[in-house]
Subunit: 402 residues, 2 copies
């Protein structure tokens, strides 16, 4: 053994030596446009899934008080007891879920909840079914594992908008399939699965022994007239032993996108495994952040109602505006807070998004960022105040008519 | 396709259906003891790698100001420019690293830095070499990927303490090896790799085309008399194109364990891949947390010096105390802030840790938590004030003499 250095031979590229799955990950097509347009004077940013309201001060102040009190040490990996209890109470009030804190594990974002749910269920070489177009990060998280996302195209017609064809879903099942990822209400399509569709998905999962990862983070952004205000949920139909993992986030309801705070809901038998997966990824979430989560759940209802009402008005403004253009194809979405529309005469949606930054001073997300079936669409987030949404819609429609 | 539910057959156990790698993950042996003893009246907790000082208020207040200013939106996945510049300045001052913010990617903990470094370099079925005993989480993060940790036992003698035998390291290389994980100064052993050892590791990595993941988070906790105060680092010997990823954290230097804030340092060519891996795991870190990181780096030097001095005194107190017991085997560690010692007559270190909670009211971490070679040791963190360390040492020595 020699202590002398071997001669150093620079590699042609460090990139040749990284793991193929990491190298082949797609750059987020949303982040690309955000990085392109960030900081432009007067630009109205509707590219990301977030609104224009900062986190309400009663939430931020709960974090501030905790910080000032010195809650800066390691804490429970699974989440502080107060937050797990608050989540259990919230989910019980909303969906009638048995009020058991052991069902809930706090994570560092909805994204991390997805990562952990997939680490729990998917190995390299296996497959996950994802209705598409879809938010790209679930597929990418599967790819990081070495698993393969299998896209199941949504059906579309102008009467129903986007809908999920269960025959098409089931015919995509192979012996390597382990997971069905269901996001409803959906980003970017605005698709909301009717109860019958959820029941059909659950049947398929039971028949083939698959897991369901249920992303119902937009469950309260459901614009049906006269309903409960809640989109149909797997909670409405599942049995306790069904293999369903729910991924959740504080981002949307409480305007906490920048916080990175979420949770996983699962059968309590899975608790020790979930705690390990948290331990070996980020080892938990700051206690002072979790105090903010408690405040959001316990005192946030009127703010959430305000957010939902703004989104509903935003949707109606955008829909009214787009219908004045004869170049736009769209259906008004029943849920979530995105308009996902096509533009006649524009073949390249990534190029269109960059042009709209430069020429209309609005930031939209190209449908190319949302996987197969998204290529001919562009996404506009309408979770903002009336004035901004009206202005952005006017800029868009004006640009389309040029 | 039927909308009726298939008959529900409860599975014997949900656990039968999760991914084998997730199911076989070890429970953290540290967390087990912490969960056992948390909240005991008067217990002195020396189980975790953290001190007793809360985060300094000038750091917390930077976060508070940012929160109050409404910095609660999505931000740069890679980290805000101000923090990346502050890290670049800090690493330049400390190690003379080229002052380039593009080398640094902000993460949600040192743990997440490790996870991402391994996702970049390791696939299922491949191997990572880990000198052992070691902090267990790097091995577990490899297992989550489906890769295999290969432990290389540290050598030990009372004169040198723990040391790394390079022949033993190299003979563990197989065609499946991709990464060498080097933690120096090391948790739990206190091992500090001399420059010659680092050079030898780098030679092995170059010869076999391996990555090094360098965990130098305790680099400033180095107790050599009259030196620079910095432990030897791969920064001292590497060439720019060497395949080395550095994982870092704010936890130890700035008493920010509970925050979950860290960074990865890598060749800028790897930037886009790192940004993707962040995007698809937690999608970045709260901007207000990052403001605290800027304050720590720019105004934290006298606090860091205070922490290091306390640790040095803590080490000397524990060493003096343990040397009065004829049941204890130990060498005073040159770095990090743990005493890792054996106790004659105690065969089961997990049982010993639980007994010490119950009978001596101190919390230690069993060596069984640190992989092969740790079974006959127990770990005591000494990063605390003199009074507590003296009291804890007295309790321990008193219990040993009973």
């Amino acid at each position: 053994m020699s202590a002398e250095s071997a001669p150093f031979v620079p590699s042609p590229s460090l990139l040749d030596h990284i793991r193929p799955q990491a190298l082949s990950l797609p750059e987020s097509g949303i982040v690309e446009v955000m990085n392109y347009g960030r900081g432009r004077e007067g630009l109205i940013p509707l590219w990301a899934g977030e609104g224009d309201l900062p986190t309400p001060s009663f939430i931020s102040e709960a974090a501030t008080r905790s910080l000032a009190a010195g809650e800066t040490f390691y804490t429970w990996q699974r989440g502080i007891p107060e937050l797990r209890a608050a989540i259990a109470g919230y989910m019980h009030r909303l969906y009638g879920v048995t009020e058991d804190p052991e069902r809930y594990y706090v994570t560092g974002s909805g994204m991390q909840s997805i990562q952990i749910a997939l680490q729990l269920t998917l190995s390299a070489g296996e497959e996950i079914l994802i209705p598409s177009p879809s938010w790209p990060n679930a597929a990418a998280a599967a790819e990081v594992i070495g698993a393969r996302p299998v896209y199941v195209p949504f059906a579309f017609d102008e009467a129903r908008g986007f809908w999920l064809d269960l025959d098409r879903l089931e015919s995509a099942v192979t012996p390597r399939t382990r997971v069905i990822f269901i996001n409803s209400p959906a980003n970017p399509t605005g698709f909301v699965a009717p109860l019958d569709t959820l029941r059909g998905v659950l049947d398929i999962a039971r028949r083939h022994g698959l897991w369901i990862v249920a992303d119902e983070i937009y469950g309260r952004f459901f614009f049906e007239e006269g309903g409960s205000g809640l989109a149909p949920s797997f909670h409405d139909i599942m049995e306790p032993e069904d293999r369903i993992l729910f991924v959740q986030t504080f981002s949307k309801n409480w305007a906490m996108t920048g916080w990175r705070l979420g949770w996983i809901e699962a059968h309590p038998a899975l608790g020790p495994v979930l705690e390990n997966l948290i331990q070996y990824s980020t080892s938990g979430v700051a206690a002072f952040m979790q105090r903010a989560g408690v405040a959001a759940l316990e005192r946030g209802e009127s703010f959430v109602a305000h957010q939902i009402e703004r989104a509903r008005r935003g949707r109606d403004i955008v829909a009214a505006g787009l219908s004045t253009s004869n170049r736009v194809r769209f259906a008004s979405p029943p849920g979530a807070f995105y308009m996902f529309f096509g533009v006649d005469g524009e073949a390249d949606m990534r190029a269109l998004a960059l042009k709209l930054v430069d020429e209309a001073n609005i930031g939209l997300a190209p449908g190319t960022a949302f996987g197969p079936g998204g290529e001919n669409y562009i996404r506009m987030c309408f979770a903002r105040g009336e004035a901004q949404i009206s202005e952005a819609t006017a800029r868009l429609v004006g640009w389309l008519k040029r």
